[in-house]
Amino acid sequence: MAHDLYRETILAHYRKPSNRRTLENANRSGYSHNPLCGDELTVYARVEDGRVDDGAFEARSCSIVQASADMMIDLLRGRSIADVDKLIARFQELMTGNVDSAPELGEIEVFREVRKFPVRVKCALLPWETLEHALVEG
């Protein structure tokens, strides 16, 4: 059953994240702290002309948070803010069970399995909520 949650895709992004670093020239950033578990996450983005040119994250957290953050940034890099907003909303719908499939999220759809572990859904959502706040509030 553990393998339902810890799919190879998720583990691969946890073991070797490609976006885990600070981001030079970031003009948006958001910090989240989960007081229940002590996890910390910072998401960086560089937004130019209504487009997310680049993103990165730093985390002291579980595998679900880190894989979710890493895959989110791969998906959103280069997209317009309008697209990014739509994809964030789509991911939230997927995780809260409002939809069962979301092909536009690509391999990120694998996070649907996290719904079998309700206490971990917040881990999957954390990077997306953090980015959402960063984009609104700078």
């Binding site: 059953m1 553990a2 578990c37 996890d39 679900i64 881990c123």
Partner: protein, 409 residues
């Protein structure tokens, strides 16, 4: 290692929840430091109370109220005897350890702590023995000072001696650490504080279920603990206080039951312990706590302690043998609490994988963030034992940890 036969099969029968399955596997409950499971005797007491004698206490002249009051006060006497309090008047019913400490910080603090004074705590405190004192310090301009710990998780007694000074108005100390399992040398530390005329509060939440506590032998000024970790109902707890302090402290909360007479000009307060028990209390819960103490005394705290020590030794050896696993907290004196970290696997991921094996542990900062910071950690996994656990369950734990390692390998 003790080899006394311990009636483990009978004891497990006494706890209905232990028959549960989780994710299709038998429940292995290793989270008793968070809350213990409840024996049938406690559950039955709650049901019987609500079915046969539910009434408010200390006020009715009818039969049910008399019955409820008698059982409630009988529970107080049991608890007083259990911790060797000199008198039931010293035993105040509260919601739990947290409320007990808040009561002392607020009420003692209001009477005895002022600008420039110091409160001394330790680096291994639970947030419930940090934050109430911080709130007090902010209000009155006092300073919070902290006894450091060693890498093994023991208090540095020389530093403690150095920190005690004429400005110290309270030493508030955990008896047994909820993260490290360390049993602190509290008797010696109380003597040292008393030599300087300083009172001591002990947070006994993790101690009372596992070691015999004698508040008169310890000579502590206050002793706080929770009923729900002592096999009793949630929302129950006890503050023991020496009469000389309780008499000189103002009430914590105002309301019914805590008064003697009330006029709009002046209120006189009720005698101890009622002065600190405003409002209708958790009557059923506290009577249930009395039943829990009967149960624990029936099992025998000493026999249970020896059995738990055997589990601790067995589990420590088994976990230490796992490559990449590091135990946090290696004090010489420990209860059945083992915090650990696994290389490359976050504690939450460990917790989730163990849960799929039916194994319930705690993962996180354990309400002790400053202690986590002391070890440079965000979180640990923690297995904690009670006398209803078995060596077979430790084997399941080890197997589940092996699978966690395999998933993340």
């Amino acid at each position: 290692m003790k080899t006394q036969p311990f009636p483990i099969e009978q004891i497990r029968q006494d706890f209905p929840i232990l028959r549960q399955s989780v994710h299709g596997r038998p429940l292995v409950y290793l989270d008793s430091a968070a809350t213990s499971q409840k024996p049938r005797a406690v559950i039955d007491t709650l049901v019987r109370y609500y079915e046969e004698e539910n009434a408010n206490i200390h006020r009715g002249i009818h039969t049910l109220s008399e019955l409820a009051t008698a059982d409630y006060e009988a529970a107080r006497r049991k608890i007083a005897a259990f911790i060797h309090a000199p008198d039931p008047r010293n035993v105040i019913f509260v919601k739990g350890t947290t409320e007990a400490i808040n009561l002392v910080a607020t009420s003692y603090g209001r009477a005895f702590v002022g600008d420039g004074d110091e409160i001394l705590i330790s680096a291994m405190e639970h947030h419930s023995n940090i934050v109430p004192w911080q709130l007090l310090c902010e209000q009155v301009g006092a300073k919070l000072r902290v006894i450091p710990i060693t890498d093994d998780g023991e208090l540095v007694i020389e530093e403690y001696q150095r920190l005690l000074n004429p400005r110290t108005k309270m030493v508030a100390l955990v008896h047994v650490s909820n993260v490290l399992g360390t049993v602190n040398p509290v008797k010696q530390m109380i003597e040292m504080a008393h030599a300087e005329g300083i009172p001591v509060l002990l947070d006994g939440a993790q101690a009372v279920p596992h070691v015999r506590v004698d508040v008169q032998d310890l000579d502590c000024d206050f002793y706080a603990f929770s009923g729900h970790k002592l096999f009793g109902p949630t929302g129950t707890g006890i503050l023991f206080g020496k009469e000389k302090w309780l008499d000189s402290m103002p009430p914590y909360q105002g309301g019914g039951d805590m008064i003697s007479t009330v006029t709009f000009e002046k209120t006189t307060y009720n005698a101890l312990p009622y002065k600190f028990e405003a409002g209708t209390p958790n009557i059923a819960g506290n009577i249930g706590l009395g039943a829990a103490i009967d149960y624990v005394e029936g099992v025998g705290l000493e026999a249970a302690g020896a059995y738990e020590h055997d589990l601790l030794v067995c589990a420590t050896e088994a976990l230490q043998a796992i490559p990449g696993l590091r135990i946090i907290g290696n004090a010489k004196e420990k209860t059945g609490v083992i915090s650990f970290v696994l290389d490359g696997i976050h504690a939450h991921d460990v917790g989730t994988i163990l849960d799929t094996h039916g194994v319930a542990i705690r993962a996180g900062h354990h309400c002790a963030m400053p202690l986590m910071a002391r070890y440079g950690l965000a979180a640990t996994a923690r297995a904690s034992f009670a006398f209803y656990n078995t060596r077979d369950e430790i084997a399941v734990l080890v197997k589940a940890i092996d699978e966690a390692k395999e998933v993340f390998s």
